[in-house]
């Protein structure tokens, strides 16, 4: 199997109050294309920082990140944006829908950015897939938490990304809604062949993935 994400000797430090704070130290791993993966660890262990760096949202202090064949360290901000648009999908704990856009428009954005001509029907199709076709013209504020996360899911899959990063995707949802969102997440992963990377506290959710890596004090354990 080919690797979609490869992390080598990753190190991340911050300067805080005149001191150097090491958040990640000597991280090495790789994820296969189409696989489902979980990163788990206690609060403050560095898992969200790791996700940010892997997704090209942040830069490591040293080490390499190769995402979908692209060496992220040497890319400019704009090139990283283009890679994200082309290959990456995101799901966030607090949904992160754009409040001024309707559900449909939120889903359309990644497709429009790629100048896809059929952005609207494809987005409607995805909304239908997550059971929200009849709420397409509603604004996020008019949707419940579960509905917002389903819209986020539709948006994440709209550009058929090679890899999808999900940061505590069920963290703000009740058990029943969480179950539905997780089913959708894995269902879409199978359907489209997208690699899943979940950052979670939830061992039950992590158990559903093919591979789990644990992080503690900034290091893999």
């Amino acid at each position: 199997m080919t690797s979609i994400l490869e992390v080598r000797k990753l190190r991340k430090t911050y300067r805080s109050a005149g001191k150097t704070l090491t958040v990640l130290e000597d991280i090495n791993f790789s994820f296969d294309a189409g696989s489902t993966n979980a990163i788990i660890g206690p609060s403050g262990s560095g898992k969200t920082t790791l996700l940010g760096i892997c997704a090209g949202l942040d830069r490591p202090t040293s080490g390499d990140v190769i995402l979908a064949g692209e060496h992220l360290n040497v890319r400019s901000e704009d090139e990283l944006a283009a890679i994200r648009n082309r290959s990456v999908g995101f799901i966030f704990q607090n949904f992160q829908l754009m409040p001024s856009l309707t559900a449909l428009e939120n889903v359309m954005v990644p497709l429009e950015l790629r100048k896809e001509r059929d952005a609207r029907p494809r987005s409607m199709e995805l909304l239908d897939r997550v059971g929200l076709a009849d709420r397409s013209h509603h604004y996020p504020v008019q949707l419940s938490g579960g509905e917002q996360q389903r819209v986020a899911l539709a948006r994440a899959f709209s550009n058929q990304p090679s890899i999808l990063f999900a940061d505590e995707p069920t963290g703000n949802l009740d058990a029943e809604t969480s179950e539905r969102v997780v089913q959708l997440l894995f269902g879409l992963n199978k359907e489209i062949g997208t690699t899943l990377v979940l950052v979670t506290h939830n061992p039950d959710l992590a158990a559903q993935t093919q591979r789990t890596i644990r992080i503690k004090g900034g290091q893999l354990v």
């Binding site: 940010g52 949202l57 901000e77 283009a82 994200r84 992160q96 409040p99 001024s100």
Partner: protein
């Protein structure tokens, strides 16, 4: 990524926040409204001056001189009359006595002969009085004077020795306006009756005017007659001259007004900048998500730049609409300073300028807060602590600062067309903004330090709201402070000038001046003054002289001296200097030597290029008198007393034809009025001016100017208020969350209300106080260095203004944050505000 998508995204993104953007637009609207109104009015003025220039002068050609034309002059005037209609006028200042009431007033007497005006009308009540007053040997009296002294048509007005029946009130006349009516209200009498007034005597400052209705080109005629005009000392004014000079004056007026309007616009732009800053802060999450989805920094910047441009353009469009409305009001606001009737018309040029300016200003001032988009990292989606991105300051900000400065200076230069004043205005503006910003920051620091935990919860929270994150203190102190400073400065300067007049009278011990006193009237006038119980503070002889030569040269090169050679000069003689004179060079001698040593005002001498020891020959009523400049004096001209450019020693001019000025002091306005009436009844040719008259004229003039400036300052006030509303609404969303949390934790609605009320009260207090302090500093500087006057002001007016600013700020603040109290706690806690 395509531009259409960026436009589409800008549109979509603005949709849910449009009501908030409306207020940002309002910040621009008031300033643009003022500018479009003034620009349009400027075009109106230009057009109306072009259309009505003929009725401003009333004739095709006006020839004027300060002395009766000699033989050559008379022949020239007669030669013109052969092919034209001619009217004559003698114009001078003299007392008018309303015989029924006994009221007296120093007026401008215009003795007319002929069918003047040939263009425009002498508008009278009753209509038709103008054509008949000359043949009826009656007078026309300016309307303001009739109203002031309760005079009626049919009453009598005495001018000099002659009584005239008032044939009508003079409502309007060529060149007349509210200013001229206040300074020197006009009484028109027939020129044929001049002799019977007894006012054509030595010392009268008469101006002789001749009006022609020509059948040829007036400008060509003036050009061809230039040598004769120079030789005869006749000043020519044609319609095109009048058009040019009037146009120039009003171009200056509209430039000044547009600068004041520009201040309102600048305030609005600061409001916009602050609003966009908060707007972008609220949009941080959206921008971060966009970045996650692949939108570049440049594209997200463009999305918001388009929104700002849209807001600017919409605001400017609304402003232009409002400006067209205000344009209709301006002729009424300025009616007292305009000599013509303004007919307004839509000016597309003005509207275009307003729209362009609104757009450009919104973009320039929006750029600074928009730069913060560059620092928003997509990591914010994962962790909000990344909100502000890297803590390095954006180097592009220097470019934006440069652009802001360039636009301010550029706009000012377009208005003023001169580098020096442009620089002063721009630097002044930077200093004012800088000071206000400094004061605001200082206040925040001080408040932070002085707030004590022992204070009541409401006061502490109210204070804390002024320096906590997302506070509006800086923007409100700057905008409200600047508006308050503007209004207050005007108030202070007016007070300083009036105070100076009162002060000058107490210093010089005189508050009433009697002039045009003939030698034969002296003794009986003295006794009359004494009989009124008034002292004679000073008696001053005045002799009219002219320059003949300086150091033997009768045709000097210095243009100022050349001009002085053409003028009559009023001098005095005495053996001492007064307390307003100090010798700065040479030595004062009170007694004449073989060649008398005269004393010159030092600044005037410098202006004429004259020096100590220069020989000057004066023509004293036909007799040459050779003198030497023996001393130069510094003269304090701003005292209520007679001062002269040239003072002779005694022993030279005693026998020359002369008239006298007497200074006296009246204890009250009532005594002054009684004395004035007695003097004018007995000596109708003597003119009397007293301090109360000067004060009332000055007050009235300053009121008129103040009215115009206050009208313009009102735009800054309105903008300040809109910025206040916008800022309050901006912070409202944060306040709602905080207040709801307080309520959740057990705070009552009354407590939350008190906290908000105190916050806005403090804000109003700080802003108003800062503005007043700034006005105090600015007007002190102006009084001290520009007007060179003592700084003395009353305190109740600024205090009243401060109270008003506090109440207004609190009122608007509370009205706009009323939702804080009404919002359901559950709704807010669900994070759905």
């Amino acid at each position: 990524m395509s531009l259409p998508w960026i436009f589409r995204m800008a549109y979509r993104d603005s949709r849910r926040n449009r009501s908030r953007l409306l207020l940002f637009m309002g910040s621009i609207t008031a300033g643009i409204a003022a500018l479009v109104a003034i620009y349009s009015f400027g075009y109106d003025l230009q057009r109306n001056v072009d259309d009505q220039a003929a009725s401003l002068i009333g004739a095709d050609l006006q020839l004027a001189t300060n002395h009766k034309p000699g033989k050559a002059g008379q022949e020239f005037l007669d030669s013109l009359q052969k092919t034209a209609n001619r009217s004559e006028e003698e114009q001078f200042g003299s007392m008018a006595l309303f015989t029924r009431t006994g009221d007296t007033r120093f007026t401008q007497i215009r003795a007319l002969h002929g069918a003047y005006p040939y263009y425009g009308d002498l508008e009278t009540t009753p209509a038709g009085a103008a054509p008949k007053f000359q043949t009826d040997h009656a007078a026309l009296v300016e309307k303001s004077l009739m109203i002031q002294y309760h005079a009626h048509v049919g009453d009598s007005v005495q001018v000099g020795n002659r009584r005239f029946r008032i044939a009508g009130s003079l409502d309007n006349y060529p060149g007349g306006n509210g200013f001229s009516a206040t300074m020197a209200p006009v009484v028109m009498i027939p020129l044929d009756d001049m002799a019977s007034t007894g006012l054509e005597q030595v010392g009268s400052r008469t101006r002789y005017l001749y009006y022609f209705q020509l059948h040829t080109d007036a400008d060509a005629l003036v050009k061809a007659s230039q040598p004769t005009l120079e030789q005869t000392g006749l000043d020519a004014t044609t319609i095109s001259d009048k058009k040019e000079s009037t146009g120039r004056i009003f171009a200056d007026l509209s430039r000044f007004m547009s600068l004041v309007a520009f201040l309102a616009l600048l305030l609005g732009c600061i409001g916009v900048a602050s609003a966009i800053q908060i707007y972008i802060r609220e949009k941080t999450a959206t921008i971060a998500v966009m970045r996650c989805l692949g939108v570049t920094i440049r594209q997200s910047f463009q999305v918001y730049l388009i929104q700002v441009a849209g807001i600017g353009l919409l605001g400017a469009m609304l402003g232009a609409l409002a400006g067209i409305g205000i344009q209709q009001l301006l002729p009424r606001v300025l009616k007292d300073v305009l000599p013509l009737t303004i007919h307004t018309a839509l000016s597309w040029a003005a509207i275009g300028q307003g729209l362009a300016l609104g757009l450009v200003m919104a973009l320039v001032f929006g750029l600074l807060p928009l730069l913060s988009i560059r620092r928003i990292t997509p990591l914010y989606t994962l962790r909000s602590s990344y909100e502000s991105g890297p803590r390095v300051r954006d180097p592009w900000r220097w470019l934006v600062y440069g652009l802001v400065l360039l636009f301010v200076a550029g706009f000012t230069f377009i208005q003023l067309r001169e580098l020096g004043p442009t620089l002063s205005f721009t630097v002044g503006l930077i200093v004012a903004f800088g000071l206000l910003t400094l004061v605001a920051r200082l206040l925040m620091t001080v408040l932070k330090r002085v707030t004590r935990t022992s204070w009541s919860f409401a006061v502490r929270q109210g204070f804390a709201n002024l320096y906590r994150p997302n506070n509006q203190t800086l923007i409100l102190v700057v905008s409200i402070g600047l508006s308050t400073a503007l209004v207050c400065s005007l108030l202070f300067i007016q007070q300083v000038i009036v105070h100076q007049l009162v002060l000058s009278s107490s210093k010089s011990q005189a508050n009433m001046i009697l002039f045009d006193i003939q030698a034969r009237q002296q003794a009986s006038l003295d006794s009359l003054i004494r009989a009124q119980g008034l002292p004679i503070v000073e008696k001053v002889p005045i002799v009219t002289v002219r320059f003949t030569s300086v150091n033997g040269d009768a045709y000097p090169d210095n243009p100022h001296l050349q001009h002085a050679f053409g003028e009559e000069l009023r001098v005095t003689y005495r053996d001492h200097l007064t307390n307003t004179e100090t010798v700065t060079a040479g030595r004062w001698t009170g007694q004449a030597a073989a060649v008398p040593a005269v004393s010159f005002d030092d600044r005037w001498a410098k202006n004429l290029g004259l020096q100590l020891g220069d020989t000057v020959v004066f023509n004293v009523q036909g007799a040459p008198v050779k003198c030497i400049i023996g001393s130069l004096r510094k003269v304090e001209w701003n005292r209520m007393q007679t001062n002269f450019r040239v003072v002779f020693p005694t022993g030279v001019l005693e026998q020359a034809p002369q008239f006298h000025v007497v200074l006296t002091r009246t204890p009250s306005a009532a005594v002054a009025a009684r004395a004035r009436e007695a003097i004018v009844r007995r000596f109708p040719t003597v003119s009397v001016i007293d301090l109360s008259l000067i004060l009332s004229v000055l007050d009235e003039l300053l009121d008129k100017i103040n009215y115009v400036i206050s009208f313009m300052a009102a735009f800054s006030m309105v903008t300040g208020l809109i910025v206040l509303i916008a800022s309050v609404r901006n912070s409202k969303y944060q306040r709602i969350q905080e207040s709801v949390l307080l309520r959740t934790l057990g705070a009552g609605r009354r407590l939350v209300f008190s906290i908000n009320a105190l916050e806005y009260f403090f804000l109003g207090l700080l802003s108003g106080l800062t503005g007043i302090l700034l006005a105090l500093a600015a007007s002190w500087l102006q009084a001290r260095f520009l007007f060179k006057l003592t700084f003395a002001i009353g305190y109740w007016q600024p205090l009243a203004l401060l109270g008003l600013v506090c109440l207004l700020t609190m009122g608007i603040g509370l009205f706009n944050s009323r939702g804080v109290l009404n919002r359901s706690t559950l709704e807010v806690l669900r994070n759905e505000v």
